[in-house]
Amino acid sequence: MRERFITHFDPFVIPFLVGMAFVLGYCLVAMVRVIAELPKADRKRFLGSLFTPKYIWMNVRDIFLNCLIHVKLWKRNKVLGFMHSSIAFGWFMIIVLGHLEVMLFVPERIRLFYYPIFFNYFVAETEQTIQGSLLMFLMDFFLLLILSGIAIAIIKRFASRIVGMRRTTRLSLLDRVGLYSLWAIFPLRLLAESFTAHISGGSFLTIPTNWVFRQFLGNDLYALPTWWAYSVALCVFMCVLPFTRYMHIPAEMLLIPMRNAGIRIRHPRKGFATLEVYSCPGCGVCIDACPMTVRKANCKDCTVYLNRQLRRGNERRIEEIADKCLLCGKCTAVCQVGAQGPELRVAQRERRKYALSPSYAGINVRPMARAVAAGAGGESGGVLYFAGCMTHLTPSIRRATASLLDKAGVRWQMMDPDGGLCCGRPLMMAGRTEQARELIAKNLEIIRASGCDTLLLSCPICYRIFKEEYPLDGIRVVHHSVFFQELIAAGQLSIQRDGEAKFVWHDPCELGRGCGIYEQPRQALAAAGELVEAGRHHAESICCGGSLGSLTLSFDQRRPMVRNALDNLTVADPSEIVTGCPLCLSTFVRDADRPVRDIAEVLDSRC
């Protein structure tokens, strides 16, 4: 290889340099701002993690797997996975190989920023070597890979159903500019490299293309304008990048280390939340996943649009979207970058100023504390069962749970025999964290007074907050489905199998996606009869539609969601729908065409 130009420069690299300088400058400033906006403790924690070998390894691995290979997307949709990883990984490899070429053939030029990108323009091939042709082969191979990805992207844009997406986002104007310039970059690179392939050398893709073009063009006059066009396309893409959805590329590279360091959203517009918002690639997977979008309703209230409105600062829409959501967490479950839609919304709700904020600090729980202390009879240990408001409204669950506990010979007592205090989760969901904390303090007093070692919940809404927010060291917090499964496994409960029964388990949002409990209730149910699965289940189960998360959805609006969730549950034609959440239960009972029961009722009837 020898250099063609003594100046090692051509004006066409200027657009590229401008774009590169702009995007790097922008990202640097944005990164400093995000880190500066973190609360002090979070910032310390994050910066510390960057120098801890364990975190460094985690970060490198996660960035490689998620940003380049798109592992999560592969698992979800092979075509989309191939499309994204071919473009991301292919581009990354072209940049790496470009630098390798420069280092190998003209090492003194590695300091020039543009040289690896436009290498083929600046050099002429003098002799063919094994490593040279291997590099060129790889360059052509990855270019072809990217081009195949771009081809799928173009097809997807015009017919998203082919790649398995029913609905995709509507692009903004700048998104379109970014998209079209991205599409243009790689075909232009192919053309540019092909036009100069007889000088710089090439491989299986560029040499034949070069040959074809030479057959009818006959001269090299087209080469320089194509290199210009390639550089301009790069410039346009990089200049619009901060204002388009492609900002997710740099944003995710910071998001992953922060998430690994355990940083959480504390303010809807500052620090980590900004990063979350900008990490959204705007793919729209959450639109199809969202339980609210049944019958094409509420499509613009999905997380992808929340992120977009947060970037635009459209306050009215932000409030609307933040309040409507059921907080089922399915968007996070399907999201490639794990965008925390529910957390972002709750943070937004927390900002709201209410005219009236009742205080619960004055509630006297001493009589209740005394009652449970008396119930324990001075003995420590045992199970304390908190039914909570929803179980009190579905008395058959409370009754079945009590009966199972007695049958298993467990020493237990109820924390709220005459109704108790709210667990605080509904307030948490509504963004009223302070009031929730007051209730937490009150409930803690009662739980401590009982001297129990296990706190049993039959409502996943309660279960989640007791598990996440209550400082209950030494006391095990357990959902009744898990507790009964363990009693069955230990032989304390013997369940008679019903040969006729065919159960389907509905994963309540708070229990499944919220707390990661999927298998224990299924195992317990399998002891009582045949277990079939719903159309979508586990982390992708569909919210019943009754969730407390939504502050604004009316019953009329929820009804199609309930029906959709029921249709999903009955695809395998079960004889009975079983769930572990009193709210799901009472939501389903109204519309179901077959019996709906709580897992405790099912087990109690077969015990």
Partner: protein, 340 residues
């Protein structure tokens, strides 16, 4: 020979169907009553006494049955399918026979809301919780272990009515007054019992209803508590504990009762919806059948030859239903005479 007398299929042999059939027969037509239950009389036949004069229900039903005894009545019969013909309808019945008729009258009535769907009230879970229908049956038979010399009785109004959550937004119209009637009857039966009515509104629109209400308070000492019941629990001795809010005093209320009666509301009859769709008549948003005009033509559907009477278009009282049945008979008469 071709039968010249026009045949009219009357679906449902409750009071609406019986009254309409009686009138149609008097007008010289040949009505055919189709009833899925083994006996005629519908919901009213299950009731003991009727408001506001405490008339025994049998006094309404018996004459209707006697006067329709000559009319062909298919009991225990459902409709397998309905086809529209050029100038009439062909109904295939569940016994395999087919019925060619010139007009169809829907007198399909209503369904009583399934109170166990409101699980928080504990129907089907607690032994001392019954519905208005169960109580009427007790008045008829005096046999129900759940009603055992109660000292305190509660009535919950609007169970499954005016309740969007339960999928039934409309008012059932007759339960306010039925609750008052039943409360008085309980008080007459058990004079020592305390009786409470938990209501959100009292809609006492009919003749003598208001007097009835005042009488219940003044003469019988029945307690009316304005506020919905939030939940029902069970005490250790099996009695039921009702929690509600007295919205007039703004205080939570807790009462322990020996008997709780749920005033299950009137909801649409799903069979009627099914038949209406088959025949091409419209079903309204509330699930009841949709009249051509809610003011001037309540008994007519949007489809010629298809008529409605009684609670199939919405909750009705007994006199309203009977009046509508007569009106429907006249509407059918006009329709058939116009066709010649």
């Amino acid at each position: 020979m071709v039968n010249r007398t026009p045949v009219i299929a009357v679906i449902g042999a409750g009071i609406a169907g019986l009254e309409a059939a009686r009138q149609l027969a008097a007008l010289g037509y040949e009505p055919v009553l189709i009833e899925k239950a083994p006996v005629a009389g519908g919901h009213v036949a299950e009731w003991n006494r009727l408001f506001p004069d405490m008339t025994p229900a049998s006094e309404v039903i018996r004459p209707l049955l006697e006067q329709t005894s000559g009319i062909r009545t298919c009991l225990d019969t459902e409709i397998a399918s309905i086809n529209r013909l050029k100038d009439g309808f062909n109904l295939v019945l569940s016994d395999g026979s087919s019925l060619i008729c010139q007009a169809v009258l829907f007198a399909t009535g209503f369904h009583l809301f399934d109170a166990s769907k409101k699980e928080e009230y504990g129907y089907g879970i607690y032994d001392r919780v019954i519905t208005n229908r169960d109580l009427e049956q007790w008045f008829n038979t005096r046999h129900d272990p759940r009603v055992d010399h109660p000292k305190a009785v509660g009535f919950v109004h609007c169970v499954g009515s005016r309740d969007i959550k339960a999928g039934n937004a409309q008012c059932s119209k007759v339960c306010c007054i039925t609750a008052i009637k039943q409360a008085i009857e309980i008080k007459e039966e058990f004079p020592d019992a305390e009786v409470y009515c938990f209501y959100m509104d009292l809609r006492l629109f009919g003749k003598k209803y208001e007097d009835f209400y005042i009488k219940a308070q003044r003469d019988y000492g029945i307690h009316f508590i304005r506020g919905r019941v939030s939940e029902v629990g069970e005490a250790i001795d099996g009695r039921v504990v009702v929690k509600a809010e007295d919205t007039l005093s703004g205080k939570p209320v807790r009462v322990t009762l020996d008997l709780l009666v749920l005033m299950a509301g009137i909801v649409c009859n799903p069979d009627a919806q099914h038949y209406a769709r088959e025949i091409g008549a419209t079903v309204d948003e509330d699930g009841f059948l949709k009249s051509r005009n809610n003011l001037a033509a309540i008994t007519e559907s949007s489809r010629p030859g298809v008529f409605f009477a009684g609670a199939c278009t919405g909750a009705k009282t007994v006199p309203e239903t009977l009046a509508e049945a007569r009106s429907a008979a006249l509407a059918i008469h006009q329709y058939l005479s116009k066709r010649g």
